[in-house]
């Protein structure tokens, strides 16, 4: 990391992380990581992960992981946009996390219709340069809606209510531990 570049970025914007939005710096990062095979792991707890060796016999695993990453990226990014419209406030994170897991469960046992759509959108994703050229992907929210069962909706409602109640309860407990702001007159 070039210390001079960090100092200049800090002087310019007050945040060195803005380098991660500077195309020159980002492309330099890509070059550095390419030279190193993309291997960046550190820390003993990641030893097994870092030492896992890929060979041709694992090509099916690689393809499966890649497909899962892509289909989940497509579904979860749209799911987030959709759920943000529900205005759940502090219950969002827990509910969104649960919804992702419900969708994963459906992907593990897809209906024939869902399976067909997944194949079509992944084929399109491999070829498409941008979202404007992805007509099948524009159906993602409708697919999410089709995927969700009555039981799923009930589960999400329960998780949202639980998360909101927990946060409200934490706020009350926190307030109860605060020092009084002023003395009450006798």
């Amino acid at each position: 990391m070039d210390e001079q570049t960090l100092a200049e970025q800090f002087a310019k914007t007050g945040n060195i992380m803005d380098l991660c939005r500077n195309e020159t710096w980002v492309r330099e990062s890509a070059r550095i990581e390419a030279e190193c095979d993309g291997r960046i792991e550190a820390g003993l707890s990641m030893k097994a992960y870092a030492e896992a060796k890929y060979d041709a016999s694992l090509s099916d695993v690689r393809k499966a992981m890649h497909r899962q990453m892509r289909i989940q990226s497509i579904l979860f990014s749209e799911l987030r946009l959709w759920m943000e419209e529900w205005e759940m406030g502090s219950a969002f994170e827990a509910t969104y996390t649960e919804a992702r897991q419900l969708i994963r469960a459906h992907l593990k046992q897809p209906s024939p219709e869902l399976q067909n759509w997944v194949e079509a959108v992944l084929t399109e994703d491999d070829r498409a340069e941008d979202l404007a050229a992805s007509p099948i992907r524009t159906q993602t929210r409708a697919q999410l809606s089709l995927m969700m069962t009555d039981q799923d909706w009930a589960t999400l409602a329960q998780v949202a209510a639980g998360a909101a109640a927990n946060l409200a309860s934490e706020s009350v407990l926190k307030a109860s531990k605060l020092e009084p702001q002023s003395t009450v007159a006798a």
């Binding site: 960046i40 550190a42 994170e93 994963r104």
Partner: protein, 183 residues
Amino acid sequence: MQQAIQLVTGAGNLVEALLCSMESRHLNDYQEVWQQFLEATNQPDQGWPWEYKLRQAQNDERFEAYAVEVEGFTQGLLFIETQWHRSGLPQRYRLVYIQAIASAPWNRISIEDPPYFFGVGRALLLFARRRSEQLGYQGRVGLHALPGSEGFYERANMPDYGPDSDKEGLIYFEYGATQYRDA
């Protein structure tokens, strides 16, 4: 914490990404998808190390965990300790210690060529330096690189302090103070 960043795809296109505090959803991505690679290669560590790390980060202020995500899916993870570790230098400066950092399997060229995304590692490393500045440690960051990753830290101009016998001989790298102050 949320920081908008950019990554580069294997095809050379810039994409929007998010560096944020690690949440349960990032752990789920690791367990449900990344971990398949470990299982397929019969690696001994079949536990879920990031589950423990996330719990530590949620319950102990010494620890912090972060994730990089693109389109809502986890592409990189970072776990740091912020209070107990000291510099390898005689002055024993306080620093941010990277206990674990990893990029998703499909971002490694030996697994996927071209890889799906470049830039996850350098963005997380830069973020660790920023946290060090914010904590008053002047940008000092230390880590033990795993075999095969040393080249990345050398190319990132991180000084190499040689093998550490306390850490299975892994090479210890440490950034010194930055030339600016952000504390």
